[in-house]
Amino acid sequence: MLQIEAWRPTVTRTPARAVNPLVPDPFERLFLEEYPKVVAIAYRVLGDRSAAEDVAQEVFIKFHRSLSPDSERAAGWLHSAAVHSALNVIRGERRRAQREIAHALDPAQTPAANPERLVEEAAVRQEVRQALRKLPQRTAALLMLRYSGLSYAEVATALGMKVGNVGTLLRRAEEALRKEVNRATPE
């Protein structure tokens, strides 16, 4: 049987009722539709809720300055801006590990988990993020968009590629990440 569950994001999606066709302002409508995806992308890259929310809000403010909310390019622009902004953050970020471990231990986030295991997981994520920093930006962006739950069509739009090429490039990106992680943590 084909596996289709593994890629699903762990960010809980806002239910569809948030997308209210009665919201008259186009920017508000776009925001309510796209914010969950934009913040999910940033969060997948950063692993830090507060930093992801900062990046998502910054992306929408930049969007407001540059594009009309009715533009056909709106969603693709937002997804692309989210992943590139978040990747730029990890490329310059040095205090990520401490913040992430603190986040992992926040009882509000994970009430019943084992603290030692959470710290270990946060350390693994930190290593993965270091590996991501070493990948070409486009390769890292492709991985993060896809693993944030975007469809192949959405990934293709955000990165300006043909939808038929997404599978091939994704497969290569996964191999590249695996090699980079193995190189960083030799057995």
Partner: protein
Amino acid sequence: MRHLSDGTLRRIYDEPLALTSVDQAHYDSCAECKARFESIGNTARATAGLLSVPGFTPEPAAALRSVQVRIRREEAARPPRWYERWLGRTSPRWRPIATPAIAVLLAAALLTGVTATGAAQTLLRVFEPKTITPVQVSSSDFASTSALLDYGEVKWLPDAPTLHQLSDATAAAAESGLPVLMPASLPKGVSGPVSFGVVSHATGSLTFDAERLRASAAQKGVHVNPMPASINGSKLIVNAGPALVEAWGLSASTSETQMPTLVIGQTRVPTVDSTGATAAELEDYLLSQPGVPPDIAAQIKAIKDPSSTLPIPIPKGLATTEPVQVNGVPGLLIKSVLGAGVVWQSNGVIYAVGGQLTPDQVLAIATSLH
């Protein structure tokens, strides 16, 4: 048949329905593709594990409020755009002089409403510009005229005019009802996308009220001549806009103060109707009020037919004017160190072209608009 590519196998791991029926038939009967799919699936599962993050629930409504606060703060802090500065400068500071020819250029489709109620017969057209004339002004003329007097009740139907910025020509034409005009060619130094500004059509009225004027003058401590009975109680109805402005040389960035390199503007000729006072009575009275510099009053009085002449303010010493012809229609060419402009009127529309250009360039653009 050829085996399925890695990309196809990777995609069907995520999106199984993307597999065509031909590919599906091959996959079902091909042990090698199944083995490769298994391996690709394992990598995908491992990657999902590596990239997993703890769950959290986004809060779009709270985030939206926060973003809106920041946007409002940015909008308030940014320097006004060139046309906003122009509008801001035009309305309050010019009101003393504007009051006469404009109590004239003051307020605008109330007329439509009045016509509909059958009251239009009693209206007297006091202003409908057919010609254009320069009026020399200097900034010091307005330095002492900060006391804005309340001449009476101002009403807008349905609302005061608003400015709407657009980036799309079709939308700008649809909203303004005016055709988007383009020059045959752009001179050197003018490039980039065009921004559009549409000022909505508006109708407003001013009902002169001697008592209100007296009270506001007393409050501000200025002396005013008492309002004649022929003016008191009469109503001016101003019908203005829509207007369409096209500007080149403005980038999308709002953080910098910018001057456009080329502006093409057009507006339907504004009209002012009065329910009682005549143009001459209004002019005599309003030009005699405090705050109207005597030389400007003299220049306006010198206009032969004030009810059909649009005065164009020209900064004294900074710009000169000369009459020109634009496609056979008389116009006014304005020359300054910073650039040039030309204003003319044709078929009920006032046109203006200006920018950081030479007079020849401005005239070439004006005559080639289509």
